[in-house]
């Protein structure tokens, strides 16, 4: 056993050198913690106000948490999605966030006292506005359009945005969802396991539209100074997705974890989100958003399923999806 401890110590050498500074371990999705995500800027901003070392551990957050159970090293978890919180809540690993969510800048009211949203967005079909000049104004118009548009989507079984689309269709069409999927199937070029492949196929010109977010054009506008990408805004409304933070109840750094939860809704954190994660901050006045965010299309209606509804609908909606597209 001593050998193992020694070996573990060697591998964790970097960590133990900083042993005097308390470490706050936060699990995050890979894109979040990577150099291109918001993680590094958030780490710098938080470390400026805490005497601590904030470490993001990246990977598949939920499976990892479920595997580790109560022995998890995490003090907090960031990047959970609203459609999978039921399973996360049922682990019993999370403690209340203790934040006031009365004045968030989100289109829906937030009353959950365990999971705290830090950013949000809408799923949408993104297109090239130099090629499509008459974008559909509603989901119904898209389904019934005579145009030979080819769309690439993500598979709901492997992708969170694909899952959101499935729930989006279910919320608009209810019992008619299967028929809607059959119509949409004629326009679906193909589907990919993840968002990246889809988006790559769109920017390469292979597909006319891609399932993404209403905020995707912001990247092209701001980072590339390219205004040719737009999101089609539908009358029926768009499916709302928020990304969440949760505090682990069994954390050995309870004060730091609380400080981190306080930090989430602060302006220092929130102002990193628009250009760090290309989505809307959960609590930041519109006047403080980057100027070009005003150019983004904004849906009139936010469609959102509570976690119980989403959990109850997932399996039947997937059955409909499979039978409509499996033909």
């Amino acid at each position: 056993m001593n050998h193992l401890t020694l070996a573990a110590g060697l591998f964790l050498g970097a960590g133990s050198a900083l042993a005097e500074t308390p470490v706050l371990t936060v699990y995050a999705p890979d894109y979040f913690g990577s150099e291109w995500g918001p993680g590094p800027a958030i780490e710098t901003a938080f470390e400026a106000e805490c005497v601590c070392d904030l470490q993001f551990l990246t990977g598949d957050v939920m499976p990892r948490l479920l595997l580790e159970g109560a022995r998890t090293k995490a003090d907090a978890v960031i990047g959970l999605n609203t459609d999978v919180t039921k399973q996360a809540r049922e682990t019993g690993l999370f403690a209340p966030h203790g934040q006031d969510t009365g004045d968030l800048t989100m289109p829906i009211e937030w009353t959950d006292d365990v999971f705290l949203p830090f950013n949000w967005g809408y799923t949408a079909f993104v297109y090239d506005n130099t090629k499509i000049t008459n974008p559909p104004a509603s989901f119904e118009a898209l389904l019934n359009s005579d145009e030979d548009w080819k769309i690439v989507i993500q598979d709901p079984r492997s992708s969170i945005s694909g899952l959101a689309l499935m729930l989006w269709v279910k919320s608009i069409y209810g019992d008619e969802a299967e028929a809607a999927w059959e119509k949409l199937a004629l326009k679906i070029l193909t589907m990919t396991a993840g968002w990246s492949e889809s988006y790559g196929m769109f920017t390469d010109g292979e597909a006319d539209m891609v399932l993404s977010y209403t905020t995707s054009p912001a990247y092209h506008l701001i980072a590339e100074d390219d205004d040719t990408k737009s999101a089609a805004i539908f009358e029926e409304g768009h499916y709302f997705m928020a990304e969440l933070v949760g505090k682990i109840a069994g954390t050995d750094q309870p004060e730091l974890a609380d400080q981190f939860m306080d930090f989430i809704l602060s302006e220092a954190f929130q102002s990193i989100i628009p250009e760090g994660n290309w989505s809307y901050p959960a609590k930041l006045d519109a006047s403080k958003l980057p100027e070009k965010f005003a150019l983004l299309g904004e849906p009139e209606t936010a469609i959102f399923y509570s976690e119980d509804e989403a959990a109850a609908l997932r399996d039947p909606a997937l059955e409909e999806w499979l039978s409509a597209l499996g033909r």
């Binding site: 573990a8 990577s34 022995r71 990246s196 920017t203 980072a223 597209l325």
Partner: protein, 521 residues
């Protein structure tokens, strides 16, 4: 003395086989243990199993069927740039799937070159999406690998045989019957098995080019169980189904295969007197040209897309490339140690026991990377921080994943070595390192180099088991590519992909070339 050396190599092979078993069945067992049992499979899941087996059989059959004429053409012809062509043709095999998909689409997609040309000629454009798209992609990946292995089989026929055949006045069809078919009967089943197995674990390609849930493979169902349902027990059961497919396929192939030893020669370049006719020359040229066109088209598109941004790549991508080089070196050395020890053991064991060891070597490609990663995580987590081990774990897993390919290159060669030189070595009392130094390494240099080249290239391109192990501060090149793509930076990702392809090819070339010093081939 020889007996003792034999015992040592059998033991080394057994240890390697045990390590492979721990990585495959061991990790699966860890997942089962964590899940506290197996879940159940529904009718849909069995549909996925049927589709998986079917598309893999078709992909492997087409790849091998096309590889034989191409390899024969390459074996019979010498031309300027032949060796460079053979090296570059190996590139598709090592492409990360996401890069390969975009490369294929640039040629065969809706707005790809082929459709543009058809449009221009006033014809209907082709659609790549569907079962034919999956087969096209799988053949694109695997044809080069199959060609290389079959070509190696051809080159292992001693040139003296062709000389003898010529002096006996053999026609091309006589040569084929007496020399080539027995070689193919030995080599082809193993190649078929490897490609079949690699296609059974395909999912991103199958889904993207298959066009929808009809193209669901078992591996995608494992993803669903893991990420959508969080149902480990079902993931474990599906993982077991994959292993069973491997076991059944392996048993069938070992039954069909007719091991032959082509005997020993003096390693001269084979001159082919029987194949000088104009008809055969045209046939061979057409085979080589078509294969080159098919494989180089998408590769060229990857180069074109990536070359513009090459000098604006962020420094972190170069650091990632450096990490990848190290992971590759470690995993190649490990992979070759495993492969050589197992191949030596196979050649010294009885036919049944040898087949078992060889079969164990195949398990790693039939094991779902997701199941392997999860199992390793479950095994490591109680003792150490898995994230801190991300690079060593990636190296070990990549070595295991490349093992079947290295074994394919080594096993027939070691068997020939044993049959041709075993008695002589024994009578000279050559054993141990002296035997390795003077008999084995010089004779096995070509397959060792080729096997190491494959292992290195594969390891460079493989994402490994990052789902649970990734560390934001330590990344490999495929992971950097994946992260760039996830952050809208597709142009930089295309350049990173080009760097990856170049490094993989270079790794392959260095190893393979090392194996061909002084040997024209």
């Amino acid at each position: 003395m020889a007996l003792r050396a034999g015992t040592v190599s059998v033991w080394a092979g057994a240890v390697s086989a045990a390590l492979v078993l721990a990585l495959t069945l061991g990790t699966l067992g860890a997942v089962v243990w964590r899940a506290e049992g197996f879940g159940g499979l529904g009718p849909r899941d069995w549909g996925y199993v049927r589709f998986t087996v079917w598309q893999a059989l078709a992909s492997a059959a087409i790849s091998v069927a096309l590889a034989i004429p191409v390899a024969r053409a390459l074996a019979r012809r010498q031309f300027w740039g032949r060796s460079a062509l053979i090296t570059v043709l190996g590139a598709p095999f090592i492409l990360p799937t996401i890069v390969a998909i975009l490369g294929l689409l640039a040629v065969f997609g809706r707005t790809g070159i082929v459709s543009e040309v058809l449009n221009w000629a006033g014809l209907e454009p082709v659609s790549i999406y569907g079962i034919h798209g999956i087969l096209l992609a799988h053949v694109f990946f695997n044809l080069p690998f199959a060609t290389r292995l079959v070509l190696q089989g051809w080159l292992s026929i001693p040139s003296e045989r062709f000389r003898l055949a010529a002096s006996l006045g053999f026609s091309a069809s006589d040569v084929s019957r007496v020399l080539e078919r027995p070689m193919l009967r030995d080599v082809v089943p193993g190649v078929f098995l490897v490609i079949f197995l690699i296609c059974t674990t395909s999912f991103a390609v199958a889904l993207a080019l298959g066009g929808g849930p009809r193209a669901t493979t078992v591996e995608l169902a494992i993803y669903q169980a893991f990420r959508f349902d969080f149902d480990l027990s079902k993931a474990a059961l599906l993982g077991l189904v994959q292993v069973m497919i491997c076991v059944v396929a392996g048993a069938l192939v070992f039954k069909v295969r007719l091991p032959s030893t082509s005997g020993v020669g003096l390693d001269r370049v084979a001159r082919r007197w029987e194949a000088q006719g104009l008809g055969l020359r045209i046939q061979d040229s057409v085979c080589i040209a078509l294969a080159a066109l098919f494989l180089l088209g998408p590769l060229s598109m990857i180069v074109i897309e990536g070359i513009g941004g090459l000098f604006s790549l962020p420094i972190s991508v170069l650091e990632a490339a450096w990490n990848s080089v190290w992971v590759t070196v470690v995993s190649t050395v490990l992979c070759m140690a495993l492969a050589l020890s197992m191949a030596l053991a196979v050649s010294r064991l009885s036919a049944g026991a040898g087949a078992l060891v060889e079969g164990i070597g195949f398990l790693t490609i039939a094991t779902s990377p997701l199941v392997m990663g999860t199992g390793l995580f479950v095994m490591i987590f109680p003792f150490a921080d898995p994230t801190a081990l991300s690079l060593p774990v990636t190296a070990v897993v990549n070595a295991a994943m490349a093992l079947p390919f290295a074994l394919r290159a080594l096993v027939p060669a070691v068997r020939d070595l044993q049959a041709g030189y075993g008695k002589l070595s024994a009578s000279l009392g050559l054993s141990g390192f002296a035997w390795l130094r003077w008999v084995a390494v010089p004779r096995l240099r070509r397959p060792l180099g080729f096997g190491a080249g494959l292992a290195a290239a594969l390891s460079m391109g493989d994402l490994g088991v990052i789902a649970l192990f990734s560390n934001p501060e330590v990344e490999t090149l495929p992971l950097a590519l994946f992260r760039l793509m996830g952050a809208y930076r597709l142009d930089q990702a295309a350049s990173a992909a080009l760097v990856l392809v170049a490094l993989s090819l270079m790794a392959f070339w260095v190893c393979d070339r090392g194996g061909r010093v002084n040997v024209d081939g």
